[in-house]
């Protein structure tokens, strides 16, 4: 069965329809209204995982706050792996983006005088987190998506799955995508391409991330020769619901919630006495695991957990500041957080690592940009502070949009001949490797579940050499099993088994970069905690890990961290 | 959409009943006009053989009308929103006021009809 071939050309093409992607599209459209802008996403934009973000967006909004404090909090939070020039630019742009969102209709919660309110958040020395109740990501995504509808030059390809980047003369000239409705392979060519595909949480079994977070953009760039930076830096959020992994926002702690162990103790006083529940996520997650190992966790049918208690806040505060949390408790656990404590445990949540990109989103490949969670521009280093990632998407989404628009305005058009043959080759590759595989024995779902369990065990909150080495062995075996998959769905129409297989292919690649990078970093920094190397070693490892694709295991290189004003110190709270 | 969509759930069924009540109400109004025309000749000759039928039909239609009115007035709390002294008026209050107005209006009309009917 042949899929028909097709080509569409754009000036700027954005892969991914979340907060960063849509923000980039609008920025490009505003920079040059005559540009043809394409946005391709494997789901309708309202489904992007931005929608589940809860806590808020940090920005310097008041005279009592300062750019220097926000920058220092972020850099210290990153365990000094952040590139400080990037952080300094970020903190200056974040307030403008918050105001821009407000102008576009985002319903930021307010002070009595009508100005945008702020709440405390983990690792922030001042109250600077703007919030839209506790559905900040939902409101921000719907705001930018609905706003994007007024730009006719932004043309969307909804439910089109990108399988490969098109590269000509070492320059990115677009993508190959499968239109899920028809099964047709299309080449979407562009003078500049922005990857904004989000995180990779689904390589783990226990994650807050939705089904679509499979590291697609990271794998696409990686295979095209772009390195992935700091892939060992995986964030575990302290408070996920057991079994489902549904996120309970840090704002619960920001509003005054307590974390209690089995003995009813606010155990964080032994780990982060000065910040308590508002310490940074990596330290709190490790504290919880340590308490579990000491036998002070609650035991439940779905593993060990702690109590997150907000009963002392009262119904009025909860209904005003945390209504979504009350809803989640009621709908998924049958509890009322006004009267019951919330069971929580550390859960994979965010990826600090990602596509190597600079302050304007440019990757080492001309014509290719990256923004949002899939990119690593150097903002978050070894650990991200809560409420920095929503403004990250806005600031660097806009930056990438402008840079890509600028590049496209001067770039030469993409020639169609090589694209035609690249499209045919990619169509052939997917058809023969997946659709036509009738004699394999392995099920996609089973390899995926095995990979997820292995990642939880080998690349979790605490890592060891033995654990990671075993993980790498298993990942290699999963790769072999993947060669023998069998697809049971041979339809052209909305074949989600094919897209699951393509996603698993991507996930095995990025999982490998996580494992190898984690093995090589023989220190503990930020979210990467090695039991066998419990200390930080700046002399050797104050560097970014860069993983390059080869025919075998990833080749690792190291690059310098940019330090401007803040010399690395011991990190304690 | 299948032709029996309204049978799929109780909500749909009672909605169709509510909408349907307009038909008997319209028929009753026509019959009522006929009766008025008949009554032109004064009370002496006005006990036509159809009176029992008319009374029975009127009772049935009254039930329909009450059902329709109750559902309609109940919705006032959903549709109308007022603020009094900077706080929203609770919808229960709005609904109760609608029923109160209805009862008062019914009492007034009943009184007028009976008084002038004598």
């Amino acid at each position: 069965m042949d899929g028909q071939v097709d080509q569409e050309s754009y000036d700027v093409l954005i892969v991914g329809g979340g907060l960063a992607g849509i923000r980039a599209a609008i920025a490009a459209a505003e920079m040059n209204p005559r540009l043809r802008i394409g946005m391709v996403s494997k789901v309708y934009p309202m489904r992007s995982h931005t929608v589940s973000a809860e806590g808020g967006a940090a920005a310097v909004m008041s005279k009592e706050d300062s750019f220097e404090t926000h920058a220092f909090d972020t850099i210290k939070g990153s365990d000094y792996l952040a590139d400080q020039d990037v952080v300094e630019a970020f903190v200056r742009e974040a307030p403008l983006e918050v105001i821009q969102m407000e102008h576009w209709g985002c319903p930021w919660s307010r002070n009595p005088d009508g100005t945008i309110a702020v709440r405390p958040f983990g690792g922030m020395t001042t109250w600077r987190t703007c919030f839209a109740a506790d559905k900040s990501g939902f409101h921000m995504l719907h705001t930018v998506f609905q706003t994007s509808l007024k730009y006719p030059q932004i043309r969307r390809h909804d439910e089109a799955f990108v399988t490969k980047l098109l590269v000509e003369d070492s320059r990115c000239v677009g993508v190959v995508a499968i239109d899920m409705r028809s099964g047709r392979f299309t080449a979407l060519t562009a003078k500049s391409t922005i990857l904004a595909t989000g995180g990779l949480g689904r390589i783990y079994a226990f994650t807050t991330n939705g089904n679509i977070c499979t590291g697609d953009g990271m794998a696409l760039a990686y295979r095209a020769g772009v390195p992935l930076k700091d892939m060992e830096m995986v964030q575990f959020h302290p408070t996920g619901l057991p079994f489902t992994g549904i996120l309970i926002t840090e704002a619960v702690r920001g509003e005054g919630g307590y974390l209690l162990n089995r003995e009813g103790e606010r155990f964080l006083k032994r780990y982060v006495p000065n910040k308590m529940e508002l310490g940074p996520r990596d330290i709190i997650s490790r504290a919880m695991v340590t308490e579990f190992e000491a036998g002070r966790g609650f035991e439940g049918p779905h593993g060990l957990y702690m109590h997150l208690d907000v009963r002392h806040l009262g119904e009025a505060v909860i209904d005003r500041k945390l209504p979504f949390m009350r809803e989640l408790g009621r709908e998924f656990l049958g509890i009322d957080i006004v009267k019951d404590p919330i069971p929580v445990r550390p859960v994979q949540h965010y990826m600090m690592g990602g596509i190597d990109a600079d302050i304007s989103g440019l990757t080492p490949m001309p014509g290719l940009y990256a923004a949002g969670e899939c990119a690593n521009v150097g903002l978050n280093g070894g650990n991200r502070l809560g409420s920095n990632s929503l403004p990250e998407c806005l600031v660097f989404g806009a930056a990438a949009g402008r840079a890509a628009a600028d590049y496209a305005s001067g770039a030469r058009p993409v020639t169609s001949n090589p694209v035609d043959s690249m499209l045919r080759d990619e169509t052939r590759r997917v058809e023969s490797s997946f659709l036509e595989k009738k004699d394999g024995e392995e099920r996609i779902g089973e390899i995926r579940e095995d990979m997820q369990r292995s990642m939880d065990e080998g690349a979790g909150v605490y890592r060891t050499k033995e654990g990671i080495t075993e993980l790498i062995k298993r990942l290699d075996s999963f790769r072999e099993r993947f060669q023998k998959i069998r697809l049971y769905d041979s339809s052209r129409t909305f074949n989600t088994e094919l897209t699951s297989a393509l996603e698993l292919d991507f996930m095995l690649d990025v999982a490998e970069t996580v494992a190898h990078s984690a093995l090589a970093r023989e220190e503990s920094r930020g979210a990467h905690a090695r039991r066998d190397f419990p200390d930080r070693h700046d002399e050797k490892f104050l560097k970014h890990t860069l993983a390059h694709a080869t025919d075998g295991a990833p080749r690792l290189e190291y690059s310098d961290v940019t330090i401007t004003h803040f010399q690395p110190q011991a990190r304690s709270y | 959409m299948s032709t029996t969509w309204w049978a799929r759930s109780w909500h749909y069924f009672w909605y169709v009943v509510r909408e349907f009540t307009s038909l008997p109400l319209a028929l009753w109004l026509l019959w009522f006009l006929v009766e008025i025309q008949r009554a032109q000749n004064g009370p002496k000759g006005y006990y036509p053989h159809s009176s029992t039928g008319f009374v029975v039909f009127s009772v049935i239609v009254l039930l329909f009308a009450v059902y329709h009115s109750v559902t309609f007035l109940g919705l006032a709390g959903v549709i109308l929103h007022f603020e009094f002294l900077d706080r929203p008026v609770p919808s229960r209050l709005i609904v109760m006021s609608q029923f109160a107005i209805w009862l008062v209006a019914s009492a007034v009309i009943a009184f007028v009809l009976v008084y002038f009917g004598r």
Binding site: R47, W108, G114, G445, D489, T496 | -
Partner: protein, 246 residues
């Protein structure tokens, strides 16, 4: 001790091979009381029949992807507990009133078009410059439209609405609620631009207040209220000589 099992029947339809949709039965293990319909579908796809197609993502009732008919009622599959049906079987079908694409996947094109048609963005006569900071707005003013801003675009309301089922030109609940969200936002001045679409005969006036949309809405948006309030508002604007309700 025998393992608990549950039977799930799901619609199957491949336009390349099937003339019409049919139901396929799957019996799967039911080991955990916390399992939802989505978990059942995921189990089937991973271990029993990889060709079952459906949309899902967040599994926490916020992305709006997994709207389906569960035993004839539109629901989010991620928030329907199997324990409420066991030991009976559960029947899962694609959302009513939308064309079926494949198995449990429906065509969202009409919905997306309607969403865009109400101009769901802030419209102002004069844009405030960024440097001027935020529009002043109070939490009470946000409370005025907050409920209508909670829509996750899951389309359960369109599946529940018999009027939409009988007439696809009807603007429908979610689109009207979204229009009202912007019309009530103190920062917006775009009511006039939205009127042609919402005050159209096939806009709010097609609604005869069945009310089922608000019953099935998983986020408490109450689109029925939005539509009836819009009817009242647009009428008052028309009737009052100095119709200034913005």
């Amino acid at each position: 001790m025998t393992e608990k099992k549950i039977t799930v029947r799901a619609t199957r339809f491949d336009p390349d091979r099937d003339e019409k949709p049919r139901l396929q039965s799957y019996e799967i293990p039911f080991p955990d009381d916390s399992m939802v319909v989505l978990d059942a579908l995921n189990f089937i796809k991973a271990h029993v029949d990889g060709s079952l197609s459906y949309r899902w993502s967040c599994r926490m009732g916020i992305c709006g992807s997994c709207g389906m008919m569960v035993d004839g009622i539109p629901k989010l599959a991620c928030n329907v507990f199997l324990r409420d049906y066991w030991p009976r079987s559960v029947t899962v079908e694609p959302l009513n009133n939308f064309p079926i694409v494949r198995d449990l996947v429906i065509d969202m094109g009409d919905f997306m078009h309607k969403l865009q048609s109400v101009k769901p963005w802030i419209i102002r006569k004069q844009e405030l410059p960024l440097g001027a900071g935020e529009h002043r707005q109070t939490n009470e003013q946000i409370d005025g439209f907050r409920q209508f801003s909670q829509c996750i675009n899951c389309m359960l309301c369109y599946a529940a609405c018999p009027v939409y089922g009988l007439n696809h030109e009807f603007l429908g609940p979610a689109a009207t609620a979204l229009a009202r969200r912007y019309n009530l936002d103190s920062r917006d001045q775009g009511l006039k631009q939205r009127l042609p679409v919402i005050a159209d005969p096939e806009g709010v006036w097609e609604c005869s207040f069945v009310g089922e949309c608000s019953v099935v809405c998983p986020k408490g948006v109450d689109p029925a209220k939005a539509i009836q309030q819009t009817k009242l508002d647009t009428t008052m604007r028309f009737v009052l000589p100095y119709g200034n309700r913005e």
